[in-house]
Amino acid sequence: MKKLLAGLAMTTLLAGSAAWADEVQLFHDKGFWSEQLQTVGEASLQETGVKIVETPYANAEQYKAFIQASIASGETPNLFTWWTGEPFNELVSTGQIAPLGDVWKEMVASGNYGESAKELFVVDGEPYAVPLVLARWVVMYDKPLFEELGISEPKTWEEFIAAAETIKAAGKTPFVATVQDGWRGFIWFQELMLRMHPEAYNGLNDGSVAYNSDEVREVFKTWSDMYAKGWFSDPRSTEEVNDFARGNGAMYLIGEWAFGLLTAAGVSADDIGVFIMPNIDGTDPSAVIVEGAPMVVSTAGIKDENTMKALEYFVSVNGANVWGEASGNYIGNDAAKAPNAVVSKVNGDIAASNAGSYLRWWEAVPPDLQGELVAEMNRFMLDPTMETAEDVMAKMQTLNAAYWADQ
């Protein structure tokens, strides 16, 4: 009997240690990047001996619920992804996430990263995450069509509008935009807001600017006019990427990561051009909306050697290269190869114009308001009249005011 027990103990120990063989789980909700993350995981195993095991959740709600509940019960995962902005502030305030000041010191010192990349992840002066994705929101366009119609890349708002008019006159639709998956309503809203009233952009999300203020009304007026002129593709389409690929729209306002989706849909990489939408007022400083997906480490994780090794690999040049090549994602590592032509062009544009970064509305808005407000914006897109706009603005402000009154 004793021998049996001993034998069992040995096997369990061996089995246990085999499972411990240097693996780190990365929890995330971006299942569409599972394969790409696996590539990085394998590469990490090769170089550092620690394998990153990507563990996806099918949808954002469940993922949020899982992380929230884990933290509430004191079992925060060592390594996981999150969102920047308000959700990030909430996460940091739980005290369960480790500050990564030291890691960033090295990253900046190595010259691979600029200070600006760190800014997105700073709360109260300390950075608490490293980038999984740093995507700028840009206008990708159909290069061959532009050449055919003799349109050059717009550098001013007037040129931008003129381009749309030329395209429309030629019988094509200038822009692709849909309400697919229920979250895209904010894309044009935020961009137009930034281009028309940059000073009010941030105020939307700290309660100082109302959603039915004059600035917002101007945005909706412009947006509604564009729809009235027939400049947008059918918002009810459930195949936004395919719409662009099939030529249903000449310009596509979206995050850089869509490049990979476009090439997968059959668009040749050479046919995709990109520019940052110009401001309506030429004297306003250049700006670009940035989406940052952070990777965070728990207070337990920072003491774990494997977790830190995995993290450092991910942000290193090699890691960034593997990730960039697999997914087309830029993470801010300037020493790494730009994943594709779009990213390098955007890098160049930003450097040339010294564009300032603005946080995406999706992350900046208080999480409790996010779903309801974007639903209203979707509603506008489906019936883009000023009448609907007034109703939408009123509803959004009611929710907004109620939220801030409760704080």
């Binding site: 971006k30 299942g31 569409f32 990047w33 563990t55 996806p56 959740y57 099918a58 949808n59 954002a60 469940q62 619920a65 899982f66 509940a69 884990s70 509430a72 019960s73 998956d181 979250w183 195949e239 990427v241 395919n242 690929a245 099939r246 990561w257 869509a258 989706l261 997968a264 849909a265 059959g266």
Partner: protein, 293 residues
């Protein structure tokens, strides 16, 4: 009864007979038409699963497919992308074991309620059946937190426990009704021969209850197989995901997966239920009949 042939009007009878035939044929035609309209939604499924992704993207959605071959590739992509193999295994495991255990436990409880001189019989029954009276939403949040605390979240055991529990009340109702209708002579005979209650249960009552047990097993298996809500909340990790939950991955934000793959996946996910139905149709119907009692 003797019929006086002279009083029968054969023409009248023949005319009525012909009318009945026409009526029947007309009925069949209507039924046929109705059935066709009923299955029209499957048309889109039927044409899309045979298109490759590029074919789908470059042609109008309702155009006929070029050939039948792309379905193999669609199936393969759906299988891999949706992790369908693992999910089907999970659902199969939960369904078979969960439903089987639930039905067995229900039989035991029904036996106690109908065959044992139990004080407060109806009370015990109501206690068990109360589990089914509430809408599912009431279980979600507490179970989520409870499982989190107990470490059962995203575990096979946790999913199995839940599926078994929720599948117990209904079979208890059905089997109780059935067992109270079973004659007690055999039990009494066995007891007089000195058999203990367990023997009575296993050797006498259970063998006679097999019919309804299979019927409710099928119903509960189908329920578990079709579940999406509880799998997303309690077992969303890849390893423990159910098949219907896995189907949702194609709805992801940045996915570039076309309807041809999504519908192929939906079809594959439905195949086991369909097979089960056709094999055991009669039991299904009988099971529903028992409900009447």
């Amino acid at each position: 009864m003797a019929v006086d042939l002279n009083t029968l009007d054969f023409d009248e009878i023949a005319r009525k007979e012909a009318a009945r035939h026409r009526g029947r044929r007309w009925k069949v035609a209507v039924a046929l038409l109705f059935s066709l309209v009923w299955v029209v939604p499957f048309y889109f499924l039927a044409i899309s699963i045979f298109k490759s992704s590029t074919e789908y993207a470059s042609n109008p959605p309702l155009s006929l497919p070029a050939g039948l071959s792309p379905i193999a590739e669609n199936a393969q992509r759906a299988w891999e992308l949706g992790n369908m193999g693992q999910s089907m295994l999970n659902s199969g495991f939960y369904g078979t074991l969960g439903a089987a255990l639930a039905v067995f436990f229900a039989a035991m409880a029904a036996f106690a309620i109908t065959r044992i001189d139990l004080p407060w019989k109806n009370g015990w029954f109501m206690l068990i059946f109360a589990g089914t009276v509430f809408p599912f939403q009431m279980y979600l949040i507490p179970l989520f937190f409870g499982y989190q605390k107990l470490g059962l979240l995203n575990s096979h055991l946790g999913m199995l426990l839940f599926y078994t529990a929720i599948c117990v009340p209904f079979p208890t109702l059905v089997l109780r009704n059935f067992m109270s209708g079973l004659s007690r002579e055999m039990d009494e005979a066995a007891r007089m021969d000195g058999a203990g209650e367990f023997t009575v249960f296993f050797r006498v009552v259970l063998p006679n209850t097999v019919g309804p047990m299979i019927a409710v097993f099928l119903l509960q298996f189908t329920w578990i197989w079709n579940d999406m809500l509880f799998s997303t909340v309690l077992g969303n990790r890849l390893e423990t995901r159910s098949i219907m939950n896995a189907l949702l991955i194609f709805q992801g934000s940045y996915s570039s997966i076309g309807p041809n793959i999504v519908l192929t996946a939906a079809l594959i996910a439905s195949v086991p239920s369909l097979i089960l139905f056709f094999l055991l149709r009669r039991h299904f119907m009988q099971g529903l009949q028992v409900q009447q009692a």
